[in-house]
Amino acid sequence: MIKLKINGEERELDVDPDTPLLWVIRDELKLTGTKFGCGVAQCGACTVHLDGSPVRACQTPISDVEDSEIRTIEYVVGSSASKEGKAVQAAWRALDVVQCGYCQSGQMMSAVALLTTNKKPSDKDIDTAMNGNVCRCATYQRIRAAIHDAAKRLEA
């Protein structure tokens, strides 16, 4: 049995220790906001927060995270959202960032993590923090603008 602390709850699951966190989140816990895109930490669609830091769940074995607090998009922009989570979601909505939307949970997770440590990121900071998150619809310009917008919301 594997014990997990996820989205403020403790869960006990009967899964192989080598199972990537991604598949536990999606298939066992049915939290499907976290997406499968590449399986090799190249696209960022599976980004979750591990003790507040963004990690790629597809390359994180479940056995490595038993002592960590895991948070997914459902929590990070949900009713328990931090002010950064709320600001990012509001900015994403105000600017209609999404197109197909498949990568956007991961994008928002990376954006929230960035804004949590850097209240006023420059374009360069944004590019560095967000370069691991691929969007094939190429919504990047709006992502950049939305992060600036969220930073402004946090200032207010």
């Binding site: 691929v134 619809c137 990047y140």
Partner: protein, 737 residues
Amino acid sequence: MTYQQKIKDGETLDLSRRSFLAIAGGAGVGLMIGLKVDPAAAANTAQGAIEFNPFVKVSPDGAVTVIVKHLDKGQGVATGLATIVAEEMDADWATIRTEFAPANPNLYANLAFKAQGTGGSTSIANSWDQYRTAAVTARAALVNAAAEAWKVPAGEITVVKGVISHPSGKKGSFGEFAEKAGASKTPPAVSPQTPPFKNPTKYVLIGKEGLHRVDNDSKTDGTAIYTQDLHVPGMLVAVVAHPPKFGAKPKSFDDAEAKKVKGVEQVVQIPTGVAVLAKNTWAAIKGRNALKVEWDDGAAEGRGSDALMAACKDAVSKPGVATATNTGDAEGALRGAAKVIEADYAFPYLAHAAMEPMNAIAEVKDGAVKITTGAQFQSIDLFVASKVAGVPMDKVTIDTVWAGGSFGRRAVPTSDYIAEALTIAKGIDGKAPVKLVWTREDDMKGGYYRPMYAHKVKAAIGADGMPVAWHHRIAGQSIMTGTAMEPLLVKDGVDDTSVEGASNLAYSVPNLKVELTTIKAGVPVLWWRSVGHTHTAHAVETMIDELAFAAGKDPVEYRLALLKDKPRHAGVLKLAAEKAGWKAGEKLEKGRGRGVAVHESFNSFVAQVVDVTIKDDGQVKVDRVVAAVDCGLVVNPDVVRAQVEGGVGFGLGAALRNAVTLKDGVVQEGNFDKYKPLRISDMPHVEVHIVPSQEKPTGIGEPGVPPIAPALANAIFAATGKRVRDLPIGDQKFTSV
């Protein structure tokens, strides 16, 4: 004539029984017969919602549900169709809901294709009159019901934001009259004094800013559901070992290790590989990786991309097998010309690489089949599913969900991934619903690429510098041959999608010849966002730039002089140049360059001006793209801008560094480490300007793509004096001049 023009002129694709039988090569059932036609049975999900027609439902609480017949894979068509309905119904935007239509070509055909499907940037164009009519009809039914209840003339009633009112003070919501209005089965007459559709000057939603996408909320809180997210009770996840070469088949396999993986339930051989079925995705992936499969390569394509490109190059060095366009005497004019420019171009295979790898859920039960996926070409999918499962077409149900991108990949003439899911479900005798999951590698190596092409262009200019002859040869695989679209799109050996954008050259050139040689290869090919224009626009728009420079003229002025009878091309070109601050003859400071391109595709017109910097290491950085677009009347300006921004990024990633290559028939790129997508640090600032228009709406999903590569190449030339004719640019280093 391009197929977009054919569609504009009212010709439609014939996806009738005969052409389907031609591709399927056997007995089948008719496409348009035998399907359920009861709209109530077809779309009956929203609680208590009352069906007004196949496209509009109104609930007693006042919610208006728009049935979206097209797949929304990010292009925003759900928002567009909802906007059209809300406008013509005078509904309150806040009450608008959408749901995807079931597969039912009798009700939900794309009127441009006469078949249910999404593509060719036709969604809004073909739906424009149909959805307006549906909305006006629903509105009239509600007004009539109110008039009857209030015993007042319908003509005295007004509707604003879903509230029906009469000067006497009587007021009611859509919801109050939904039941009564929806129950009247005869379509209500629209008063002859009332124009059937709203006058555009009265629009409050269409063309207006500030409307948010209908999928804006669900795609920003993790609740939007894609195929990958569905968990059907009792389902098994299937991951398939596919052959490394196209056309190979499994010969034998050893599943001893695979079956040891906890969660693996069954292993079945199918024509396209060996499927491992497991209780969860990870077990299925591990099981697949543990399989040992021996492949029969007898019928497989064994050539590498170098050999395939050599075949294309060889073909363009000789007269084309077919002629797409021949006006005047291009070869004669070239022989007598003072100045001739000759250029060769090469374009690689490209993968769509949508963020959501291909997937589908198939259920086989009691002689019926249910497919759930981001279905993009339901008419074909219905036909293929019926054939694979061996059930009549009226026993096939297809539910459509949001798709995590497509760029054309989810509309496949063979319904490849749907057929595979269904074959597996059948292979386990329907004992469980099957979710087929392709990993990124399955998706990237699974074929159906934008074909590889070679072009050769010889063009001549006269003493005045203006072109006198243009001789253009193209060679590559045909997308349409062997598909249901072949009868309309392949004529006299010319697949229109191989030459579109070149065969109908916009520039006025007196002697024009465009030839095509179709290459046969075992690599599956497919339309890829903007289809033939992905390569023809590059050849045409870089060559016209070469001619302008050879003539010593400004590239914008040169183009405009050749576009005198093409006002919409000229319109976007002028607007983009103006907004970009283009100055004739201006040379930017050393290390910087500015280039332009203009192209029509899918009946829309886009011009782009690109600014680049050549970095100290010789690599190109794209700083800014200024785009101007004319796509007729605009339903959602922000969606139009988003599509052009995205189209620029999509085309830019491909132009900079994307290629699918093969070595001895084996695809070398499996994931984003080798097929490197555009990332945020590559994304230029993109400005989109829209030409105001009252023409009928045309496409916008694709037309933003074609101009970006040639505008970029022309900007690189301006900065370095070096022409970029082959794509992708790759690791090339440039030197500023």
